[in-house]
Symmetry: C2
Subunit: 248 residues, 2 copies
DNA sequence: CGTCCTATTGAAATTCTTCAACACTCGTGG
DNA sequence: CCACGAGTGTTGAAGAATTTCAATAGGACG
């Protein structure tokens, strides 16, 4: 079995400096690229920073750049004509951001937290794909993963109670967020990357209902809340149980 | 095995008989294949029929076969532990059915109507993909399309009223179903491929609410209903307006 | 003709939202 | 240093939408 030896196959000196510490090279799409291709791609990349709440790509507009997320959380959302909003996806490092093949996005892309990305012009990827079938495969795999997540969330949106929805959201973040976990006997702690209004838009609820359900979970001892953003979960399995078992 | 040159007696223009009338050759994944590959694939295919309400692939179980849908409607659904159900996707001909790369499905696959498929063993596709990058591309495109549809539906599930949900469902079917449309000046008519309980599970509602909202739409003159299944829409644009504008 | 399945309708109960008031935090500027 | 205001989050009470429970109707089929 290969352990950490994949670094031996590829000499670090062959990997562009900007890519050396990048997660996208391992779990992201760049893992499909050879050092030469990485070098070629890196000539076109720019690291960019978006501050929390800033818009990365508005809906319907031509997307000029695609990117890998280096840090932070990105939210994808949709709006009804009269302004109701639904968040339809969250992306974390080292996810690929930007839709391949399609020039314009069907969703609004916004930074939920401060976000750092490694951006490159749309089209760069498409031409790389012609030489590297594995790259399309990586993108396909990420799309399949996003589809799974979307469908999981449809179950939550359509069939769970407010209490279960909030628990599901916390469980999602607990298992996805870059862990500031203190894994002492199952107790973990993390920062919610969204404010209450985003949580509400993610769950199809109002901010008041979200707040009330958080309070309820706090009183039940399932979570502790510090600074409105930091959540401590003494027993992750208990939280997981709340995601499907309404005990209001 | 699935190489192009193994069958020297095949002319490029020779499409296998079983494939000649098949939509999958145009809009589906088979469009990526050469006549030789089609012939090779067709040796492994079996046409299969599922009757309405029968299970095609249970959740979590190994999927032995993949298929193209030839006719009918397939529903993909998920369940909570206590039995609440959510339909997370509908598939129509000539969609590809079955998840590439993953051996077991995360969703339950059932026939909503009688369904005819062109099935082949899991793995056939994967080996074809090695020679044909365009095939993975086709699959990727379908996955992207399903992801778009899932996200559209998340907006419906999370942010629309019962009345808007039912209108959205009817609009979806009206625009997706194999049309028995009579396109006389915008008036169309079609059969709903789902029974009320399926509609409810698709919309995150109860069957009673679905029934009430259908009655409301009927009284408002937006639709006419025959036999509980056949819907007549005098003005499709009017129906579309109902999908985002609550006029309960 | 009775039974099963599906769909509709009504009334009561519940969940969630809406409206409204209040609390907390964090900069800024007097 | 404190006051102020904006942004964010919480809590309460009333209201609305949807669900639940219950009864009924219609068709298909043996």
């Amino acid at each position: 079995m290969l352990k950490n030896n994949d670094r031996k196959d590829v000499h670090n000196s062959d990997v562009p400096v900007v890519c050396r510490a990048c997660e996208a090279r391992h779990r992201g799409i760049c893992g499909a690229l050879s050092p030469e291709q990485l070098l070629e791609l890196s000539k076109h990349t720019t690291k960019m920073v978006y501050s929390a709440e800033s818009e990365i790509a508005p809906v319907g507009q031509e997307v000029a750049r695609q990117a890998n997320i280096l840090s932070g959380v990105v939210k994808l959302s949709k709006l009804t004509a009269d302004g109701r909003q639904q968040i339809v996806g969250l992306q974390f490092a080292p996810d690929f951001m930007g839709r391949p093949y399609s020039r314009n996005s069907e969703v609004t892309v916004e930074a939920a937290t401060d976000v750092k990305v490694c951006a490159f012009p749309a089209g760069t990827l498409e031409s790389l794909m012609r030489d590297t079938p594995g790259l399309e495969h990586r993108l396909h795999e990420q799309t399949l993963k996003e589809l799974d997540e979307a469908r999981d969330w449809m179950l939550t949106l359509g069939r769970k109670t407010a209490s279960e929805k909030v628990a599901s959201f916390l469980y999602l973040i607990a298992t996805h967020a870059d862990p500031e976990l203190d894994t002492a006997e199952g107790a973990i702690s993390f920062d919610i990357p969204l404010k209450r209004s985003d949580i509400a838009d993610f769950l199809g609820l109002t901010i008041e209902t979200v707040s009330r359900q958080l309070t309820k979970l706090r009183h039940a001892g399932v979570i502790n809340i510090h600074n409105n953003r930091t959540i401590e979960v003494p027993d992750l399995d208990r939280l997981r149980q709340m995601t499907e078992q309404d005990t209001a």
